[in-house]
């Protein structure tokens, strides 16, 4: 397999796997966070402001992990430096 095929193959598979595996952890933990927040709300409804705000901040932090995976995936598909290098070489020939 020549360079171009190898780089394309690696990028495509890695991009897909990154998003697939990287989405599992944040999804599970967000579910747990919301479940715990709901039970806390049920126990203390008058602290709902604090609980809701803390829940949102926590969800944003967890979501960041999924966003990092998404950004890596996008870079591999749309702004891949190795692919650009190989394309530049092929065009130059």
């Amino acid at each position: 397999m020549d360079n171009m095929t190898l780089i394309a193959l690696g990028s495509i598979i890695t991009a897909g796997l990154t998003m697939a595996v990287g989405g599992i952890g944040p999804a599970l933990s967000e579910g747990r966070a919301v479940a715990t927040a709901l039970s806390a709300l049920a126990q203390q409804p008058d602290a709902s402001g604090t609980i809701t705000r803390t829940l949102f901040v926590g969800l944003a932090m967890i979501e960041s992990i999924a966003i990092y995976c998404f950004v890596v995936s996008m870079i591999l598909i749309f702004a891949n430096p190795f692919w650009n290098h190989v394309i530049a070489q092929a065009v130059g020939k």
Binding site: A60, Y68, M74, F78
Partner: protein
């Protein structure tokens, strides 16, 4: 692939480029500044209060309340910075209702700039509150072995702020763009609504996180009681 409005170059002269992000950001800034100036021209405290003034009062009071709940006891000192962060990101995301508009926060340059502002502002507020020595000593809490970790956490928080906002805004715009080529009827409208919700939540998250970082930096640490040393 059109990732962000950075790639729309409107004017070029040598290495100076005027791209879509800069134009959109400046347009947003002018609209917000001129709008605020017009609304607050004749502030009324008694009698007939105009609707716009009531709306602005609502917004400012809500932001002040949130800042106070985070733990900053004097919200007026931080209202300018934190309120502007929230209002800019929220307005940038609300304007996606306008056709042909791309949010400037969908470009990594804008979000990196905002995150750098927070990175610079947090030590400034901390030094203003605790003095230079007191603030620098806070990096050694609870033991001086934590110094490299505290420094790393400062840098990684800034990076996380930038990438979180960029990822959310860029993904929203990109998904709508892709959907428009596949099912150009009802589904993109639902995704636009979801994008609006995400934008508002991300604006809130950005400003609340900045407030939490400022609160952590300006927290006056209680001196250790003298009885502990005598043991």
């Amino acid at each position: 692939m059109h990732l962000s409005s950075d790639q729309q170059i409107l004017w070029q002269h040598g290495f100076l480029k005027l791209n879509g992000t800069i134009v959109t950001t400046w347009a947003l800034m002018i609209v917000m500044a001129v709008g605020a100036k017009l609304i607050t021209r004749r502030l009324a405290t008694v009698g007939e209060i105009s609707r716009w003034q009531g709306f602005l009062e609502l917004v400012v009071t809500a932001i002040e309340g949130q800042i106070k709940e985070v733990g900053l006891s004097q919200p007026e000192r931080y209202l300018g910075f934190l309120g502007t962060l929230f209002l800019f990101v929220a307005t940038a995301s609300l304007c996606t209702l306008i056709p042909g508009y791309e949010p400037p926060t969908g470009s990594l340059s804008t979000t990196a700039a905002l995150a750098l502002c927070v990175f610079v502002a947090v030590p400034l507020f901390g030094i203003e509150e605790q003095g230079l020595g007191g603030y620098l000593k806070s990096y050694m809490q609870p033991t001086f072995l934590m110094l490299p970790f505290n420094i790393i956490s400062e840098l990684s928080r800034t990076l996380a702020l930038a990438v979180r906002l960029f990822g959310n805004m860029m993904s929203g715009a990109m998904i709508i763009g892709i959907l428009l080529t596949i099912t150009p009827f009802i589904f993109p409208i639902i995704m636009t609504a979801l994008g609006l919700l995400t934008g508002m939540v991300q604006a809130y998250i950005f400003s609340i996180l900045a407030a939490v970082y400022v609160a952590a930096a300006t927290r006056v640490r209680q001196p250790k009681p003298a009885s502990e040393g005598k043991r």
